[in-house]
Symmetry: C2
Subunit: 229 residues, 2 copies
Amino acid sequence: MSRSERLLDLIQCLRRHRRPVSGQLLAAELGISIRTLYRDIATLQGQGAPIEGEAGLGYVLKPGFMLPPLMFSDEEIEAIVLGSRWVARQPDRRLSAAAVNALAKIAAVLPDDLREDLDASTLLVGPSAQAIEGIDLGTVRQAIRNERKIGFLYQTAGGAASQRVVWPFALGFFDKVRVVVAWCEMRQDFRHFRADRISGLNATETRYPRRRQVLLKEWRATFDKPRES
Amino acid sequence: MSRSERLLDLIQCLRRHRRPVSGQLLAAELGISIRTLYRDIATLQGQGAPIEGEAGLGYVLKPGFMLPPLMFSDEEIEAIVLGSRWVARQPDRRLSAAAVNALAKIAAVLPDDLREDLDASTLLVGPSAQAIEGIDLGTVRQAIRNERKIGFLYQTAGGAASQRVVWPFALGFFDKVRVVVAWCEMRQDFRHFRADRISGLNATETRYPRRRQVLLKEWRATFDKPRES
DNA sequence: ACGGCTACTGCCAGAATCTGACAGTAGCCT
DNA sequence: AGGCTACTGTCAGATTCTGGCAGTAGCCGT
């Protein structure tokens, strides 16, 4: 196995173990010596990988992912950049910032001529409303990933507010605002909640009883049939 | 210089020369022997780089770009994927197809857990109108890159048609259709043309007298001032 | 404060890989 | 046919990588 492949494997290993893992163990998994492992880690860090090592604990990979060398056609790059620019204009602040960062990283490695070409491809959509975003969508994202229930106060369109406990499984856009898609315990049905009408969000440690993917699939299936609102 | 850096340099070299270039020359530029060059080219091709070599001619890199290993956070990846999905839904067929391909390439190297997370982030925008796209935007793209004039028949909103010769310098979206942004010789001013109202497009070899970037800059500047329509 | 665990660095000889040179085959072009 | 070029096989030498060892320093539980 070549060195570059092994470096990728090392990242995969670190991703698998969420908790800090000792270099000893990693070296064993990869079939290399500790010394070489240290060298590999140093190389990866040199390439920008956010690996953190603490004496007495082990290594953790801050959530993220290393894209291996990948070949894109001009048009594919254009599609990615255009799409990211669109995301950067969305009201979701976290995501918007992430898009800006991603664009910066890509632009940094793009050859000049290609960067110029991309400047000539402009997004003419009107300036999006800078919606205020009431809650921290990061919390929701984490709840989705860990399949945890969340509770919050929801302001309905009519003006009435109600306390909800829901099983969130997706996060989407709808008409410029982000919505949390979830199974609502109160209504015993799928509902979506506009992020800007949610307040008093609190994440719980209670796991909801079904798999996220299954909920997602069932929810999607409801689109193909007529449904009573 | 490490081998991996050299491979990247090789790509850059190939990008610079648009016409076929002999291995001899490439090897000299990189300061390596011919034999090693052949090995490097083989390695790159193994990684998916579209390098073509023909006996008696030399090497050409099909237009495109190799992204070096790059680190993205979860949110950055999400921004890119979400943006690309949006592009994939746009009416521009070429770009849409490119977005789909780019997504496939990214998905192929994404670890499973991250891919699942992304499934939970859905785009809820309504199905976009499948606009017919009258002309080949690839031709326009090329004219922009080479700063060539193009001529076409344009159907105005009123219904009248007129023959135009314009200096295209940008390609944008506007309300679900693609528009060509250009200096119009007839109007002696900046104009944008909806791609779906263009017909009889013909690319010329005539270079237009100003730099694309300059036109772009001036055109953008017109946004900041009041302008007579 | 202590011992155990761990991250990290410098060093060096052996292993693995890469490199350059040469010889030879085959395709494209004039 | 002849010149140019892309390719492949082989092999010794150069380069890099690797593993083991010794030593320093930080974190942790006792």
